[in-house]
Amino acid sequence: MSDLADQTLYSLRGLLETGQCSAREAAADLIARIRERDGEIRAYVHLDEESVLRQAAAADAARARGEGGELLGLPVAVKDVLNVKGDPCACASRMLKGYVAPYDATAVSALRAAGAVLAGRTNMDEFAMGSSTENSAFFATRNPWNLDCVPGGSSGGSAAAVAAGEALAALGSDTGGSVRQPAAFCGCVGLKPTYGRISRYGLTAFASSLDQIGPITRDVRDAAMLLKAMAVPDPLDSTSVDVPAPDYMAALGERLDGLRLGLPREFFSDGLDPEVNRCVLTAIELCRKLGASVVDVSLPMAPHAIATYHIIACAEASSNLARFDGVRYGFRAGGANDPVELCCRTRAAGFGPEVKRRIILGAYVLSSGYYDAYYVRALKVRTLIRRDFDRAFASCDALLSPVTPTAAYRLGEKIQDPLQMYLGDLYTIPANLAGICALAVPCGMTGTALPVGMQIMGPAFREEIPLRVGHAYQQATDWHLRRAPRHGKAGQAAP
């Protein structure tokens, strides 16, 4: 069988269970695909082929013994921000070059326990700071739909790998949209679970009150499968919440009868690209035909989300990244005479520009004289944003919006203008601030053949609602079945 790399997790599981292929064959096919395509896509920063084949062979052996979990033999790629014991974990930063994870993140050990094969580490914006993966200290990743465009970020390597057939599914992390935005740019499904749903232990911290691990997949069913495997309470993360995860697969169906879907008008305002708007409105109309009722709602504080987010996220980042001092991990600059000089020089040479900007902004909003005016004020606006969502969810089961105001832009287009880059996250950030769950599903293409995504936001700990909406939508459409063109084969070489 030659198309194992193009399967979903669910369909490959069927093939494995019925003995139509082995996990080792699937892993070998996947490795062949990565070798063929990653030269132009550059989704991976590390791939230990031997380890992938070994894990797959172990899964086959377990199956032969009648053992194994829900994900037995299914390969999942991992963003370079999550610790996988024995693998490098550089967070795409020079600061952590050569760092080898001494333990598994809880989300990773949960996948292992379910039998998954951990297959390679994907590129990202350094320390998950960015929206285009251009801030990687290694290299930029390209969008499989158009090699001149960014894949989005910060989980751009994960989304590009899934879109290019170089991964069946991948883990990302989402602090302000870093799973959903690259999923939308690459035509994939991306889920940001509720804050607290998946343990953050072993996820290198960027902004601890906002970070959440999430899957990037080819369809909604696969996202449900991965969420179920990772949604386990963890004593190693005090913010991991013990709310039992329902059977997400059982919640999936073909109809949306009885569901009330809200359209927050602030998410369809000026600055929204007309093509994106058209795709999302068409998708919403389909949801109505599937039985849902659609109503207008308002989240009046949403326009303040970007400012609120950057104050809080940068404040937390400046604190979290203080640990990189040239003593315990990775990189150390030479020539320092005392520990303070060592720290200053190491951080100067180890961090890239976006990380430095955010650390400086974070230190600024926390500094004496500005703490109340910026940081505490942002925490209060965060309360107001959360109240908006509470009000909206009192009358709606889920909220629908675009994921991004535009489709993917060109490499280099925004990298010199950080504020412009930040403004692209206006529809994804509110869900992180409120701590709710949100799902991105492909819902159309622009005239230039770039994917467009629809966002489905649900109340805290109710992931089954966005999953149900997204799955029913996918049963009635084929956007998620379209595959990115093979540029190399079509003779359109990367520059």
Binding site: S318, N337, G369, K380, V381, A460
Partner: protein
Amino acid sequence: MNEEKRGDCSRIDVEYVARLARLDLEPREAELFQRQLTQIVEYIRALQGVDVEGVEPMAHAVAVENVFRGDVPRDGLDRDAVLANAPEQDGEHFRVPLIVG
């Protein structure tokens, strides 16, 4: 200075804040960041216009409670694996430049 007045003050002294954050900046970098961060501070300053009178700050989306576990000894990380990641170590300790002369 009262809170309102500080909020109006949108100036950010990048070199000073970078020192607080233990970050050496090249002169060209400091100049670039000064320009970019002035623009960003100008943007986030818009929050000063939001009425937050009487609103409680929200540090976390879920109520954070202390999590206790049984007082049972267990292994920490393997020392060799942890030290192997350090830029300089002597098999038992992290090495740093002389702190007290």
